[in-house]
Amino acid sequence: MAYALLLSVFVISTCGLIYELTAGALASYLLGDSVTQFSIIIGVYLSAMGLGSYLSRYIVRNVITVFIQVELLIGLVGGSAAAVLFMLFEVAVHFRSILYSLIGITGTLVGLEIPLIMRVLKNRFEFRDLVSKVFTFDYIGALFASLLFPLVLVPYLGLIRASFLFGIINALVALWALHLFRREVLYARLHAAAGGLVLVFLTAGMVYSGWILHFAETLGYKGNIIYAKTSPYQRIVLTRDGDSLQLFLNGNLQFNSRDEYRYHEALIHPGLQSLREPKDVLVLGGGDGLAVREVLKYASVSSVTLVDLDAEVTKLFRSHETLVGLNGGALKSPKVHIINADAFIWLKGETGKYDFIVIDFPDPSTYSVGKLYTTTFYRLVQRVLKDDGVIVIQSTSPYVARRSFWCVVATLQSLGLKTTPYHTYLPSFGEWGYVIAKKTPFKMPETFKPDLRFVTPAVAQTMTEFPADMGPVETEVNRLHNQVLVRYFEEEWSRYTH
């Protein structure tokens, strides 16, 4: 029995160090600055252990019973700490206080363990022998944990599951001790039942840790998630915040229903209104159907071809009731042809000609998206444009990413297109830019549809005026083999967000 308890010293010291390492890693991961986080975690944890050791003197009777209770508590608190911290990170205002309190509680409980177990063992060994044995197992356990943690636990289990696993091990130590001392423990059955509950709880946590992680991440959204799906291309998340809807792709906001009409009216109407009898419209990207909704306001338009890579997005915006309400059922219109394809590849094979072409791609933040802003791509677009047709391109923020914006302009101009850059203010995004390109000079229309909520002739006139801080700058031409736009964009947005 004595050796069984020594073995449990080894196990519990392993568990103890694992909790400490998990907390340190988690704090570095969530809060950054790993040196500071690890130092503070170690400090708090060790001092809490001191407190626990001190408190052990007040446990006078029923030492073994208290030991079992402590073990169960450590399993419960330590085991679920990682999951709790993950979930609280996004929502808690005082995350650090919660973090240090949890560490403090775990540390205090772990600090109780060794003094208690030494007292249980005091009559079975000579004092000299006892100290030597207990601390040997304690420190070996620490070494074992410190190797196990980075080499096995983090890479193979992850922090949440590893922490639950060691909680389970702690609880098993408690149950084992309960079995060994079943004659001495008060309310043995009650303790056994509590142990069982703790085990079930921790096991469930371990099994559903993937879900917990996911839940923790979705807490990053301000609104309530009303739809989430991972398509082969991206993570689609739709949230509702009060009476407005937000679409996020891979965590990036695509639109907020509160002011999306501003973005889409500014995208569509200047170009489309300038055409006399537009018939054939091509929309590249924009699978939400909001741009198409604006296009369908023109009675002369007989056909809208929408090319969007992700079938999950177009399906969602064709079938989800609220979203269909938002885009006015645009994607269900018999005039609209939806093609789920890569725009670059699709354009290479396209032979039709269009009056109006809308390019509504994500910002050029990666090299693969950057390809859709190159001379090579625009040459393909130009090929399917009617002689008097108009192209409009969403071109990121001319305020935040001034060189990026003017790079799109320069790239279009290098192909001999006449460009009209313009911009507007969007509450959800800030200053936003667009570029109109055509083979002949463009003139801003003097009248607009009367039912628009944002674009009016007077507003449209101001759009082409660029204040000095967003005015033209010299840039290189974006090509497949230099991708200067992605470099500009990275530089400008990282300066802005840091």
Binding site: P232, Y233, N252, D363, T366, Y367, L372, S397, R479, T497
Partner: protein, 560 residues
């Protein structure tokens, strides 16, 4: 309305140079003498293997028939104007030149089951991929033949008002081009930046400054010092003397001892010539940096053109409409003069049937050393230069992976190199693909065997089993991309026993190369071996010159 956060920060220091194509013309006997590999059909059973794939070439078995002497008896004889031995870039260029001049009676014999030599390629459902050379730098003004070909193939689409060529942008290597894995992360460009001290950087400046000067330098004869094709380089002693020392010696003589600079230069020598810099003539080493003088109206001067199948794309284009002239699986074992004709005897290793072609002229576009075995006169009285041609062995593996290998520091590039490694890293076959989403890709992994003497290395390569190669490759890749091994679907290994001629000191401007270049009666030699450096442009140059000489023979023979 699309906003997204910033991506990975990039290192602004970008090296100007790219991996050099290693290129020899393939050729019948190229692989023939390729002292390794197993037959194409000899792929292994699928059982008890950890990863799918095989050693798919080259055809060593057929190649080694050459070593067994001329003991074949042709069972049928036919006649033609010109026989071209080898269908690599030299052979194809010769054939193209003949066809352009309206000559139809010629035949091209190829040992392998495919044309292309070192520019050969394979087709795969994920992406076609190269088996060897994979790009061509922008041709300079002297590379007249390359420019002409590029215009014909639509690689050059026109010229701007300044007379600069405009390249087809699908073919210009897409950005990002190169990254280097060093000190546990990726950096943009191949010249080491992470960990480089101010002294290292000073030496980079000195070295690249020297190379820049040498790129512009002209000799007393008015020619540029280092030109592609190399035959057009200046013969000024001032420059030719670099051929007498090694590239390593050149660095030392100039006080360049930076560990990183020397790694980089050595990497370039291994990449271009399959040899370490101690074995490479400084003239050849400098030529890599100073020879490229191309420019374009729509690209940077250091740009290159490339395709998923590498230079195999050019091979495919050049071989179009040539099928009636090409015979694959034709191993040339004997060439001898009979009267005013030259007999070319070849064997189909699959059927064992031997045939003879009587030709008025022969263009020998296979690696030069094989001629010592196949041409009767050379076989019977070996020339003085016989031992001077040395060859570097290479292994090229194409690894099909179901996930794109990213990494920290710099995004996946066309060319991905590991610092201080035996392999040269890998090239991504579908890098030029414009599609947004790519779930699978093919990595072409390059490995010149430079750990010891080439003959010993060749032996090492041939004794390694497929499993041993696959193990080595996967272990290497997973050092830089942990977990990639789980995504590897297939590994196809191609062993080049004699991949490229070794430009050792004194070889390029020495006597042996000059003597080997001289025609043997009606036999004209065309191969990048004849330049001493294994480049696409060199192969093409010699192919076209040989075609013109052979045509002159034909025209002389024709009654007026």
């Amino acid at each position: 309305m699309k906003k997204s956060g910033p991506g990975t920060p990039t290192d602004p220091s970008k090296a100007g140079l790219s991996r050099r194509s290693f290129l020899i013309q393939g050729a019948c006997l190229a692989a023939a003498a390729a002292g390794m590999g197993i037959s194409c059909k000899d792929s292994r059973p699928a059982g008890n293997k950890r990863v799918a794939g095989s050693i798919i070439g080259s055809n060593r078995k057929a190649g080694h028939m050459l070593l067994q002497g001329e003991g074949i008896t042709p069972t049928e004889t036919e006649e033609t104007g010109i026989v071209i031995v080898g269908s690599g870039i030299a052979g194809l260029s010769a054939a193209r030149d003949l066809a352009k001049k309206g000559i139809r009676d010629f035949l091209m014999l190829e040992l392998e089951d495919r044309t292309g030599g070192n520019s050969a390629y394979a087709v795969h459902k994920v992406s076609p991929y190269p088996l060897g050379a994979h790009y061509v730098p922008l041709p300079g003004v002297e590379a007249v033949f390359v420019r002409e070909l590029f215009e014909e193939l639509g690689i050059i689409e026109g010229y701007n008002s300044k007379g600069l060529p405009l390249y087809n942008e699908y073919y210009l290597c897409a950005d990002p081009q190169e990254r280097l894995f060093i000190h546990d992360r990726w950096q943009e460009g191949l010249v080491p930046q992470f960990g480089a001290t101010p002294e290292d950087k000073r030496q980079y400046q000195v070295f690249f400054g020297m190379m820049d000067d040498l790129r512009k330098a002209r000799g007393t004869d008015g020619r540029r010092a280092f030109v592609i094709p190399m035959e057009l380089s200046s013969r000024d002693r001032r420059f030719l003397k670099y051929d007498e020392i090694s590239m390593a010696q050149f660095l030392t003589d100039n006080g360049l001892d930076s560990k990183y600079l020397r790694w980089y230069v050595n990497y370039c020598c291994r990449d271009d010539y399959g040899c370490v810099m101690e074995d490479v003539s400084a003239w050849a080493g400098i030529h890599y940096f100073a020879g490229r003088s191309g420019s374009a109206g729509n690209a940077e001067p250091h740009a290159v053109v490339t395709w998923p199948e590498g230079n195999g794309w050019i091979v495919r284009k050049m071989a179009e409409n040539m099928s009636e002239h090409i015979r694959c699986n034709a191993c040339v074992l004997n060439i001898q003069n009979i009267g005013d004709k030259t007999a070319v005897d070849y064997l189909d290793p699959r059927s064992g049937v031997a045939k003879r072609i009587l030709a008025r002229a022969v263009i020998y576009a296979a690696p030069r050393f094989t001629a010592l075995r196949s041409i009767k006169d050379l076989r019977e009285s070996p020339p003085a230069y016989a031992g001077s041609f040395g060859y570097a062995p290479w292994m090229v593996a194409n690894v099909v992976v179901n996930a794109v290998p990213e990494g920290n520091g710099a995004p996946l590039s066309w060319d991905n190199v590991f610092y201080g490694n035996d392999s040269l890293g890998y090239v991504v076959a579908n890098h030029q693909d414009v599609a947004l989403h790519q779930s699978k890709t093919v990595l072409t992994y390059y490995y010149p065997l430079t750990a010891g003497d080439p003959a010993a290395e060749r032996q090492r390569a041939v004794t390694m089993t497929f499993d041993a190669w696959a193990d080595m490759i996967i272990r290497d890749l997973s050092r830089f991309h942990p977990g990639i091994e789980k995504g590897i679907e297939e590994v196809n290994v191609w062993l080049w026993g004699h991949a490229m001629v070794r430009p050792v000191p004194k070889f390029i401007w020495g006597r042996a190369r000059q003597e080997a270049l001289r025609p043997l009666g009606r036999i004209f030699f065309a191969h990048s071996d004849m330049s001493g450096i294994s480049l696409f442009e060199e192969a093409q140059y010699h192919g076209i010159l040989a075609a013109r000489e052979a045509r002159a023979v034909l025209e002389k023979a024709r009654p007026a």
